[in-house]
């Protein structure tokens, strides 16, 4: 009953935390790697997030200097504790020579997973940004402090921008490990092409393109930059704008559909979705199922306990020529009662799901439809929504569909749910 390819297995795993596997690093023995490391190591820092009362390390990441004034770029997910629980955590910077110092969080871009912090000890050497795309296969060197093992350099190649991604990412063929998040990926002449952000396993890593660093830095350096708005409010505004942006795109035209049995259902509705299909025909079973799953490959890291920005849906076609109508519906009901995927969150982040159920008739189809909603507590105006529907027109075949939207406004959730259900019809 579960799709064989669970889309979330192939999702990039955030590297700051959680990754325990010690991959053998792809350190090239070449002299230039050593030279690059020696030349730029003083522009790299380790960022430590400490539990405020005990001073114990809660999380480590990397960062790099981008201005003489002590501006440091890192990943949003490295410093997200400072946004969500500023009283529970503090943070410090460790330079390559072991000296430590405090810093302040100036700005962040949760959508592209970037943050800018500033030290108060100026006159640092810093790195330049390279905001233009590189050619595929160009050598790139990623620096950082993996697993708190000290400053390290990893060699790989620039493998182009990720095709079909909701948020632009560079595919980097080196091993980024936990703790390297926020570190720079450099060209051989020492310019930053991207920021280490995520890994999907051996040699498949992701970088945030430097152009987003430039944007964030420019905004931060604007004289009217408002750092005084509460951090959570800034986060909320960013998430709102982001979901408006991609939902606007999705809703701009009718959804692309696919055919499952005698039904037409939403298909690969956007390039950034990955879709999988599968079917099950077993001789000893009295029914057949065909499934279709689509999910966006990106999600947004909000805090250690909460993920957002997810979009996924699945369809299940259930057919039986053998079962009588009562037994068919007993089977069909099992599928309908299955749990839906819900984006990770705990009770400090979201309320409980509430659902409404009704019969809905449209396009000559009658559904049992369920819409469930839960509200974000700290970021008001955002919701997780689950839509489920099962067709009831046939006593030996039916199609069930489940849609999950993580972190969208109510208007977008309902607009999308409307368009989604509205696109389901008999296949002519």
């Amino acid at each position: 009953m579960m799709p064989r390819h669970t889309p979330f297995c192939s999702k990039p795993v955030l590297v700051a935390i959680g990754l325990a596997s010690l991959c053998t690093s792809a350190l090239a023995a070449g002299g230039d790697t050593n030279a690059i490391f020696e030349r730029y190591k003083n522009r790299i820092v380790q960022i430590r997030v400490l539990e405020a009362s005990s001073g114990a390390r809660a999380l480590i990441g990397s960062g790099f200097l981008v201005s003489e004034a002590g501006h440091i770029v890192t990943s949003y997910h490295v410093v997200s504790d400072l946004v969500h629980k500023p009283t529970h955590y503090r943070a410090e910077i460790v330079h390559h020579d072991g000296t430590t110092g405090p810093f302040t969080l100036l700005s962040f871009d949760a959508v592209h997973d970037l943050a800018i912090v500033q030290t108060n000890s100026p006159k640092h050497p810093y790195l330049e940004l390279h905001t233009q795309p590189l050619g595929q296969g160009v050598r790139v060197f990623s620096l950082g402090t993996p697993l708190d093992l000290g400053f390290t350099i990893v060699e790989g190649t620039y493998s182009g921008l990720l095709a079909d991604s909701l948020h632009e990412r560079i595919h980097f063929t080196g091993s980024i490990n936990a703790g390297m998040s926020g570190g720079p990926a450099l060209t051989s002449d020492g310019r930053v092409v991207g920021v280490n952000v995520a890994s999907a396993g051996n040699q498949v890593s992701f970088l945030v393109p430097a152009k987003f660093v430039r944007q964030l830095l420019d905004n931060t350096l604007l004289p009217d930059h408002k750092a005084d708005a509460p951090a959570l409010e800034r986060l909320r505004v960013q998430l709102m704008a982001n979901q408006n942006r991609y939902m606007e795109k999705l809703l701009a035209r009718p959804l692309t559909t696919t055919v499952l049995g005698r039904y037409r259902l939403p298909g690969k509705i956007a390039p950034f979705l990955k879709c999988w299909g599968d079917s099950e025909h077993k001789k000893d079973k009295l029914y057949q199922t065909t499934s279709w799953d689509c999910s966006a490959q990106n999600y947004l890291y909000i805090s250690r306990s909460q993920l957002s920005g997810t979009l996924n849906f699945s369809h299940e076609l259930v057919t039986s020529d053998v079962l009588d109508r009562f037994r068919f519906f007993a089977l069909y009901q099992e599928f309908f009662a299955q749990d839906a995927y819900a984006p990770r969150a705990d009770k400090e982040d979201v309320g409980k799901f509430n659902c409404m159920t009704d019969f809905v008739t449209q396009n000559d189809l009658t559904f049992k439809a369920v819409l469930c909603l839960r509200a974000y507590k700290k970021l008001p105006g955002l919701y997780d929504a689950v839509l489920k529907a099962a067709t009831l027109n046939d006593n030996s075949q039916g199609v069930l569909t489940t849609l999950t939207l993580g972190g969208v406004s109510f208007e977008n959730a309902t607009r999308f749910a409307r368009q989604y259900l509205g696109s389901i019809a008999w296949a002519k």
């Binding site: 000893d284 079973k285 009295l286 029914y287 039986s320 079962l323 109508r325 009562f326 037994r327 068919f328 519906f329 007993a330 089977l331 069909y332 009901q333 099992e334 309908f336 009662a337 749990d339 839906a340 819900a342 009770k347 979201v350 309320g351 409980k352 799901f353 509430n354 659902c355 409404m356 159920t357 009704d358 019969f359 809905v360 008739t361 449209q362 009658t366 049992k368 439809a369 369920v370 819409l371 469930c372 909603l373 839960r374 509200a375 974000y376 507590k377 008001p380 919701y383 689950v386 489920k388 099962a390 009831l392 027109n393 109510f410 959730a413 309902t414 749910a417 409307r418 259900l421 509205g422």
Partner: protein, 323 residues
């Protein structure tokens, strides 16, 4: 006959434990084996009390110089000698005695309004019991068949039915034992029929609830239907069993059955409330699916459905604020 006297030994609750009738006086009472009435109470003297009748025909009780004395109820005054009326209560040692003369008037007869419930030839029949068990088994097999969508194996359908029938037989046995102890007749088959009826009703209630939840997309009223139904069935089950066990009035039995059933159901309701009020990712909605023919309400249009989501939004917003 004129000399006849009745001695009743009472238990602490005042009920008669032993009753002896004496045609000749005096009657002596004590621990010694020479007495007419022998009492094993260690606080009673070997020769404790004597009941006499004087020349004038008056009955009296005389303390035979016992160590612990004779006391008269209700004043509990120690007496050397006491005249006996139609009914006299005495205490000697730790034992309470009632001495009655032939003139003692008994209370008037209580009129039986509950009917002859000690025998129920109709329900307490092996045939009805067998029929009820068969019906229960059939209902369970049918429910099981309707809920399977893999190849049916007879044994997997029959096994739960047989287990339930065995459990019901055991249950009826326990109640029959209670009946035997308190009402002096076991009524085994009647207990079995009552238990079978309740079980079948619970199964049918489950089915009705499933169809109701589907037909009306009802979540709250469906739960209400289920809780009410279970309370009624449990109440009737308990009432039926108790009627066969205890000789109390039907009204008080009904009250007991209602209270116990309501308690059980509210406890289970409370448990499920506690469970569901915990934070979780679970979606709670009536997931029953039945053939479209059982749909009892008009379909909404897509626009109506989406329109109604506004109410859902207000609800989750409120909850997020409260939590």
């Amino acid at each position: 006959m004129g000399e006849m006297i009745v001695i009743e030994i009472l238990d602490p609750a005042g009920r008669v434990r032993e009753r002896t009738r004496h045609e000749r006086l005096p009657v002596t009472i004590g621990r010694s084996y020479q007495n007419d009435v022998i009492l094993d109470d260690p606080y009673i003297s070997p020769q404790h009390l004597s009941l006499n009748r004087d020349e004038r025909g008056e009955f009296s009780a005389v303390d035979l110089q016992s160590e612990n004395g004779v006391f008269l109820y209700p004043s509990l005054k120690r007496v050397e000698q006491a005249a006996l009326g139609h009914e006299t209560l005495l205490r000697i040692g730790r034992t309470c005695l009632r001495i009655c003369t032939p003139a003692h008037a008994v209370a008037s007869t209580v009129i039986d309004q509950s009917g002859p419930h000690t025998s129920r030839p109709f329900l307490n029949s092996a045939w009805i019991f067998a029929g009820m068990m068969a019906l229960t088994a059939v209902v369970i097999v049918l429910e099981g068949y309707g809920a399977t969508y893999t190849r049916v194996r007879l044994v997997t359908l029959l096994l739960p039915a047989l287990l339930v029938v065995a459990a019901l037989s055991g249950w009826a046995g326990l109640w029959a034992l209670a009946s035997r102890l308190y009402a002096h007749h076991s009524s085994y088959f009647a207990h079995g029929v009552i238990a079978g009826l309740a079980t079948t009703s619970l199964y049918l209630l489950g089915t009705v609830h499933a169809y109701y939840s589907f037909a009306f997309s009802a979540s709250l009223s469906g739960a209400l239907l289920q809780y009410t139904g279970v309370t009624i069935i449990l109440g009737l089950l308990l009432y039926g069993h108790l009627r066969l066990c205890v000789l109390h009035s039907p009204k008080s039995l009904a009250a007991i059955a209602c209270v116990v059933a309501a308690l059980i159901v509210s406890l289970s309701g409370l448990t499920s409330y506690v469970y569901t009020s915990e934070f979780s990712d679970d979606l709670r909605y009536p997931a029953q699916l039945k053939p479209l023919a059982f749909k009892m309400v008009k379909s909404a249009t897509l626009d109506d459905f989406i329109e109604r989501a506004q109410g859902l939004k207000s609800k989750v917003d409120r909850q997020a604020q409260e939590e």
